[in-house]
């Protein structure tokens, strides 16, 4: 089926599609344009803004539990005003603390950094950069967003139930997740958590199927796979990872639902619960869940990280006015990371009684990831090297991403060793590692993408001054929050504790914890500044006046400043070269649509 047929979906009309017929074809109402839209650009914005709502909620949760960690003895009466019984006397209760930690993790990992990041940019960039009118199936694409939306509503509703949201950690290990009697959060909160996550998996699968089909089938004439921008390669591998790993998580969840509700013994055994007695279940294995969970859980890390890597590659190249260094090595390393992602899940389980020999195999495979990661880092640095760098806010965040990826990646080499893991597992060292390398780094990739493609999304620019303030406070804050946590972790401070001042060994960290909490609040406030910038600029930002404001080569900048549904008026442009002809033959840049001249030096 052709691009035209996809957008119009009336086979009979397809033969008359040419010229500028797109502009007066659609009669869109408010509902079909903004709510149940099938335009990939609008769906991208829906993902982005829903993701932002979740980022604010998830960030606010971290501020609340950092308040408890930084000021374990203080009381804040206003907390009782907003949280009610969860903060009796102005101090967050222990079960509320666990609920906050759990929901913060679930929301940030899945709703913000999976749906908000790859949902936004896969939808926005794939059709625009491969030269397609829309996704392979715009209807499935719309369903993908609305499944995400329903998942969001269900997850949000779990915050308001009597017994509170799920509080057994974002990984939802049984028995806490399988036994309603285990904790208050394991009751209705866990049911809603499971429903929300199942809907989320459906949303991810629908989206991922579409992204893969679009990239492989809907590229414009001349757009061979090796001419694709690296953003598209990264989003492609992200989608492949999601499509192959989310179903395994779903099967783990299905078994969990049976254990919770139908009395089976997949994960539960005859354990003793105080106040309930011994369970009637026999012979279940909680470790089985961990295998199924981490078989998704580890690829999930790369589902979060790869889109950021792709966008950063693109933005670094554009703003260095240089071709990306080692294009094929970048593609190859993405591929290597995607393969290795499936072979390392047991490094999350080194201390579960895993056979040490098996552990050593997983150590080797885990440390192998350092190779493609280092290739990418060197290629980013050599792209910057002697470039004619333009420090736009998007570029600042892209460079910040590289910095964070190096800092966080190096501690990955520590944690990948099963021997070191005996000491470091479940400490703040782990928290510091994954927040820097996956959490903050991917947020930086997302910010870079938003600043860079905002002109294409809304036809206006974000305010630069606010952008620079946002960048500097966030990067300084990120290091000030997570760097000290390495020391706490090395000292053995465990994660997920409610109050460290009770322990003689950790009393020394009271002031450090207060420092971290203070910085966390400042960084959160600056994100609100970014949100202000975002929404203000939609209406009042400086207008984009040229089609190609960054002087970029890729196809999205050949579309009108505010493209309609169908993206290009007239024919879809044809592609004649790769996406990185910057500074070639004395020209600043050559768009992908320019035919190769006879006087050109070697081309790709």
């Amino acid at each position: 089926m052709s691009n035209e047929a996809v957008v119009h979906a009336h086979p009979g009309l397809a033969h008359e599609v040419h010229g500028d017929h797109h502009e007066h074809h659609h009669h869109e109402t408010f509902i079909t344009k903004y709510v149940f839209s099938q335009d990939h650009k609008m769906i991208a914005k829906q993902f982005l803004i829903t993701g932002m709502v979740w980022a604010v909620l998830g960030g606010l949760m971290s501020v609340l539990f950092r308040l408890q960690l930084g000021y374990p003895d203080a009381t804040f009466p206003w907390l009782e005003d907003i949280l009610g019984k969860w903060a009796k006397g102005g101090r967050i209760s222990d079960s509320a603390y666990y609920a906050l930690v759990t929901t913060h993790g679930t929301v940030l990992v899945f709703f913000v950094l999976t749906a908000g990041l790859s949902g936004t940019f896969a939808n926005f960039l794939i059709p625009l950069q491969v030269g397609a009118r829309d996704m392979a199936s715009p209807f499935m694409n719309m369903l993908s967003y609305w499944f995400f939306f329903i998942a969001s509503v269900v997850m949000l509703s779990s915050l308001f139930v009597e017994t509170g949201p799920f509080s057994g950690g974002w990984t939802a290990y049984p028995p806490l997740s399988a036994l309603g009697s285990a904790s208050p959060g394991s009751k209705t909160g866990m049911d809603l958590w499971l429903i929300a996550m199942a809907l989320f998996v459906v949303s991810s699968l629908l989206g991922g199927l579409n992204y893969i089909a679009t990239i492989l089938n809907m590229r414009t004439k001349g757009m061979s796979m090796t001419r694709l921008p690296l953003t598209i390669w990264a989003l492609f591998f992200t989608a492949v990872l999601g499509v192959l790993s989310f179903p395994v998580l779903l099967s783990g969840f299905i078994l969990l639902i049976f254990d919770r509700n139908f009395g089976t013994s997949f994960y539960l055994s005859d354990i003793f619960v105080s106040g309930v007695g011994a369970l009637p279940n026999e012979g279940g294995s909680a470790i089985l869940y961990q295998h199924l969970f981490w078989f998704l859980g580890h690829p999930e890390v790369y589902i979060i990280l790869l889109p950021a890597m792709g966008m950063v590659s693109e933005i670094l190249s554009i703003n260095s006015r240089k071709p990306i260094f080692g294009y094929m090595a970048m593609v190859g390393s993405l591929f290597a990371i995607a393969i290795l992602a499936f072979l390392v899940w047991a490094h999350h389980m080194f201390v579960t009684g895993l056979n040490p020999f098996l552990g050593s195999v997983f150590v080797l495979l885990t440390l192998l990831i350092a190779v493609p990661s280092a290739i990418k880092v060197f290629n980013w640095l050599t792209t910057l090297w002697r470039g004619n760098i333009r420090f736009t806010p998007g570029m600042m965040f892209a460079i910040g991403f590289v910095s964070l990826f190096i800092s966080g990646g190096l501690t990955g080499i520590w944690l990948g060793n099963s021997a070191l893991d005996i000491h470091l597992h479940d400490t703040y060292f782990v928290i510091a590692h994954f927040h820097i390398v996956m959490g903050v780094a991917s947020m930086f990739g997302m910010f870079a993408g938003v600043y860079h493609w905002y002109p294409k999304m809304y036809g206006r620019y974000l305010n630069n001054t606010l952008g620079y303030i946002h960048f500097w406070v966030t990067i300084a804050g990120a290091y000030m929050i997570f760097w000290p946590m390495h020391y706490q972790g090395l000292a053995g401070m465990p994660r997920r504790y409610y109050d460290y001042s009770n322990w003689e060994s950790f009393k020394q960290f009271v002031e450090l914890n207060r420092f971290i909490s203070t910085v966390a609040m400042i960084v959160f406030a600056v994100q609100i500044l970014f949100l202000f910038n975002f929404f203000y600029s939609i209406f009042k930002g400086r207008k984009v006046t040229s089609q190609n404001p960054w002087g970029a080569t890729t196809l999205e900048w050949t579309a009108p400043i505010r493209p309609g549904h169908g993206n290009w008026t007239g024919e879809i442009p044809e592609v004649h070269r790769w996406a990185y002809d910057y500074g070639k033959d004395g020209k600043d840049f050559i768009p992908q649509t320019t035919p190769v001249g006879s006087d050109e030096s070697e081309h790709h």
């Binding site: 089926m1 996809v6 499509v243 192959l244 179903p247 395994v248 099967s251 012979g283």
Partner: protein, 194 residues
């Protein structure tokens, strides 16, 4: 597909995007069942695993789903030859055989319960629960195929609009053969591998 050929005469024929999407979805479903059957093997090698005979009815259901794949194949051939009467008969048979398959699987579960092998609940052993959950999920996937056939079935009896595009039927057919193959895999797995 013909449309594409007229529009872009010099481009090589690519797989229809919807058909391609189906293949990716099949990969996704395969991963789900691979996860479940791996969990089955892991659990089997731990303590407390109840061994029991697979119900004989599952052999009949295997035969039924194999025949339904054949009728599906013939239905597609009849559609392409524009033998609409034959096509309607065959597609109805396929859907009915799908429903028969689901019924037989259900009877198989009843048969196990009659032998006092609990599938769920307090006295259940995870070997029977695994059989129930995995087979049940497969039944849900067959049901999905039946629903897809019903939609196509309704179209086949429409008189006002004539349907010439064989793509929806091809997609449903590929899916149908896939759930058939998936059951064969599960049947072999239960009997000889797991």
């Amino acid at each position: 597909m013909m449309m594409t050929a007229i529009q872009q005469p010099n481009r090589p024929q690519r797989l229809h995007p919807h058909k391609f999407t189906l293949w990716v979805a099949i990969g996704s479903i395969v991963m789900m069942f691979a996860g479940l059957t791996s969990a089955y093997i892991v659990k089997k090698n731990q303590s407390n695993w109840l061994e029991f005979q697979l119900p004989v009815i599952f052999r009949y259901s295997t035969a039924v789903i194999l025949v339904s794949s054949l009728t599906m194949h013939l239905a597609l051939k009849a559609f392409k030859a524009r033998e609409m009467g034959r096509y309607r008969m065959l597609i109805s048979t396929t859907a009915l055989l799908g429903l028969l398959f689901i019924t037989l699987q259900y009877l198989g579960f009843r048969n196990l319960e009659a032998q006092h092998i609990a599938l769920v609940g307090e006295k259940s052993n995870s070997s029977a629960s695994f059989l129930f959950v995995i087979t049940g999920l497969h039944m849900v996937h067959v049901l999905g195929g039946v629903i897809a056939l019903l939609v196509i079935f309704a179209r086949a009896f429409r008189t006002r609009i004539k349907q010439y595009n064989s793509m929806p039927l091809e997609i449903a057919g590929t899916y149908w053969h896939f759930v058939d193959a998936l059951w064969i895999y599960l049947f072999v797995f239960y009997n000889w591998i797991g």
